[in-house]
Each structure stands twice: as structure tokens, then as C-alpha cells.
């Protein structure tokens, strides 16, 4: 029992916190977690000012991508890939952009209106950080 509790503690301790970043145009400064989830699942496709939302995610085989899949989508990385392939095939949503490195993702978000992305750490680009339920990380 003690060993199990310790294992859970270690696993949680290894799970990195996520930070949401966005381009200066489109996204508000703060979102609720339910809103973020809705955006990242392609359910909400426009910001209040009408700008198209561009979703940027780390590839699901990266540590940040795996954490995003679990924390935001409540799915495995493979299931997130399947979820998006199905949505694109149905013509319901444009495919997100997937990145190998967080610096590439941040640069893309900083340069493209309406872009929003999830990272485990920011490297200080011009992308703004979005608070989720009043917190900088979750």
C-alpha cells in the first residue's frame, strides 16, 4: 500500500505542468479550463473577435504532448491522433499543427494571428501566456 502510494506520488511529481500561450490577436488573457478543452477539441473555432483559432500542439510522442493528451483530452497520445484524424476526415475542423520542439511551437504561435498552443515551459517569445482558471500553469 505504501509502495503504491509512493509510486503515485512519484508519477505525479514527474508530470510536468502545462502552460497555455497565444498570439496577441484573438485569445483573451484568461480562460476557464472547460473553455480551453472546448477550443483544443475543435468545438470552438473562432475567438470572440472573429479570428480563426489555430491549434498548436506538441507531437503526442513527446513528453509535453503526452501530458497534454492526458490532462486536456483525457486520452492517450494515440487516441488524440485518432480523434483529430477523424475530425478532419469528417470535415468538422482543420487539423492542428503538431511540433517537435517547444521553441518552434512558440515561434509559430507568436507569428500567427489566432494561434493558441500548449507547452511545458516558455522560452520568452512574443506569445502571451493565458491564465487557466486564474493560474499560469495547470
Amino acid at each position: 500500500m505504501v509502495l503504491f502510494a509512493f509510486s503515485v506520488f512519484v508519477l505525479n511529481a514527474q508530470d510536468p505542468s502545462l502552460t497555455v500561450i497565444a498570439n496577441s490577436k484573438g485569445a483573451p488573457a484568461e480562460l476557464k479550463f472547460a473553455e480551453l478543452k472546448s477550443i483544443l477539441k475543435g468545438e470552438k473555432q473562432r475567438w470572440p473577435d472573429g479570428t480563426k483559432i489555430l491549434i498548436c500542439l506538441m507531437k503526442t510522442n513527446t513528453a509535453a504532448g503526452t501530458t497534454t493528451s492526458r490532462k486536456v483530452y483525457n486520452m492517450s497520445g494515440d487516441d488524440v491522433n485518432k480523434f483529430w484524424l477523424a475530425l478532419v476526415f469528417q470535415g468538422k475542423a482543420p487539423a492542428p499543427s503538431f511540433f517537435n520542439s517547444m521553441s518552434e511551437l512558440e515561434t509559430f504561435v507568436a507569428q500567427n494571428s489566432g494561434a493558441i498552443g500548449v507547452v511545458t515551459q516558455t522560452t520568452g517569445t512574443e506569445a502571451k501566456t493565458i491564465s487557466i482558471d486564474g493560474k499560469k500553469t495547470f
Binding site: E43, K44, Q45, D78, N81, F89, Q90, K92
Partner: protein
Amino acid sequence: MKLKVVFIKSLFAFFMLLLFAAKLEAQSTQIRGFAEALAGYQQDKLSFGLGEQDLFITSELSDKVSFLGESVFKYTGNSPTYFDVSIERIVIKYNIKGNNNFLIGKHHTPINYWNDTYHHGRVFFPTIYRPALFAADIIPLHTTGISFQGHDFGKIKFGYDLMIGNGIGSSDVADNDKYKSVTAAIHIKPADGLRLGASWYNDHISEGASMHGETINYDVKQNLITGSVAYFHNKIEVLSEATLAMNHTDTTGTQNTIAAYFYAGYKIKEKWVPYIRIDYLKYEEGEVYYHNNNTTAFVGGLRYQINYLAVIKVEYEHDDQHATGLTDKYTMQFAIGF
């Protein structure tokens, strides 16, 4: 003077090319596809076969305009090469506002969950084959026309489709009569993984229209009412749909056909899902538009997902059809996405 005209034309063409190139650079285009290979055992015979190869292209042309095209290559016995190419979808989408869109082209008729969600994406199919109501042509799979579509409104994530099309008997390039088909569909997603939907389809199929490989010799007024429940969440998979088809002719009156299926699967491990499906088709005595072929079928199988792009299924199917009697078959499918 002639040279000047040629020069101006060339210059214009050059600028157009530059403009086009810039647009191409700005757009985002993806080409994806699906394919499958099959092995089946029926009546003491083992057969190997190819299924469909599906290519689909999506392109974001601007902030408001996007395109989706889908072509299928499949075996066709009466083709000189034994294979045919069919255009399954060409959809140009214009975003009106928020989650409201206008679409024009050839669509999957948004009449039920399976048709709109899986269609030719065999790697997504929960079973190897489509439910019997598809093979029996109970519903029109495609519609060429225009539609308004909206999704994920409010807490219950309400969505709608309103489509006006050429209707049954028409070709992809023109209507065969003055009547238009109307499809109205709504759905809600009140909880994670749960989708409830209902639709109504209305069409006037004119005498002389080609359907089910035959020419229809009478006018048919058709109404289809469909309900669907889909629940795919965590380990549980449930999908059930039913269509009530009401075909009316002046001589025979209205005949009702019921077509339904129920699918259930349970993820026993990360990649393994055993499943069942039951199909049911019941035609009313005197039905003239459909081929009367009362059917009950049971499907039991096991799905192994190697990853999201590669799935293996093994399946047993027992059919009880009015036309062919009792049949049993075993099938294995290797479906991929690429």
C-alpha cells in the same frame, strides 16, 4: 502593337502566377488516405481481397474558405480495368460566423451517425463492414447540393445540418427532375463521448430515375426519420441507429420499412476491443421501392488497434436473409490510414 499585347499579357500572367504562388504558400493542404486488405472464409472457401483505397484532401484556402475532397478507388467487375474511381465528396466550406458554415458540393448526407462519421474511413469503423442498412440502400449516402451546418452551441453542444440537394436519381452534375431533397438533422453532445441525433429526409423520386441498379417506373414520395445514440468514452463503445422509411406511391399507398442496428464494444486492454453488432431490416408487405429482403444479422468480433493508423479485426457474421437464407462467414481485415 501585337508584340505589346503579348508583352502585357505575359506580364499579367506573370503577376497572376506570383499572386497564385503567394496564395499557395499561404494555404495549408494535406493529403491523407485509407486502405484495407481482407481475408474471408465462407462455404469452405478461403479468399483474399482488396477493399477500397480512399484518398482525401483537405485545404484551408483562407481564413473563411476551406475545401475537402475524397476519391475512392475500388474493384468494379464491369469496368475494363476491374477498378473504378469515384468522387465521394467535394465540399467547399465557407464560414459564415462562429461555428456556422455554408457548404456546397457533394456531401455525405448527414442523415445518421455512421454515414457522416465513418463512411469510407475503414480504419475508424468499429466493425469490418457497414451495417446492413447501408448495403440495402435504405438511406441516400450522398447528396449534391448546399447545406448550412453549425455545431457545439451551448452547454449541450447543439449542432444542426440543413441540406438541400438534387436528390435520389440525380447525377453528380445535374438534377434529373425539378424536385429537391431536404435533409434536416440535429444533434446534441450533453456529456463526454455521448452524442444523440435525429434527422428527417424528404425526397420525391421521379419515374425514370435509376436506383438500386434499376429504373424506377413510378413516382415515390420518400420520408426517412432517423434516430441515433452514440457513446464512445473510456472503455465503453455503444452505437445504435434506427431509420423509419416511408415510401409512398399513388398505386400502393405508403409502405413503412424499419432498418436498425446496435453495436457494443468494450476495451479490455489499451488496444483490444471485443464487440458485437446486430442488424435488423423489416420491410412492410407490398413495399415496391426497396428490395424486400427481411434481414437479421449477428456480428461478433475482436479489434486490435496497433496504433491510430493501423487496425486489425477478426469477425464472425451470421446472416438470416429472406433472399439468401442462413449464411455464416469469417473475415479478417487489416485497415490502415496514411
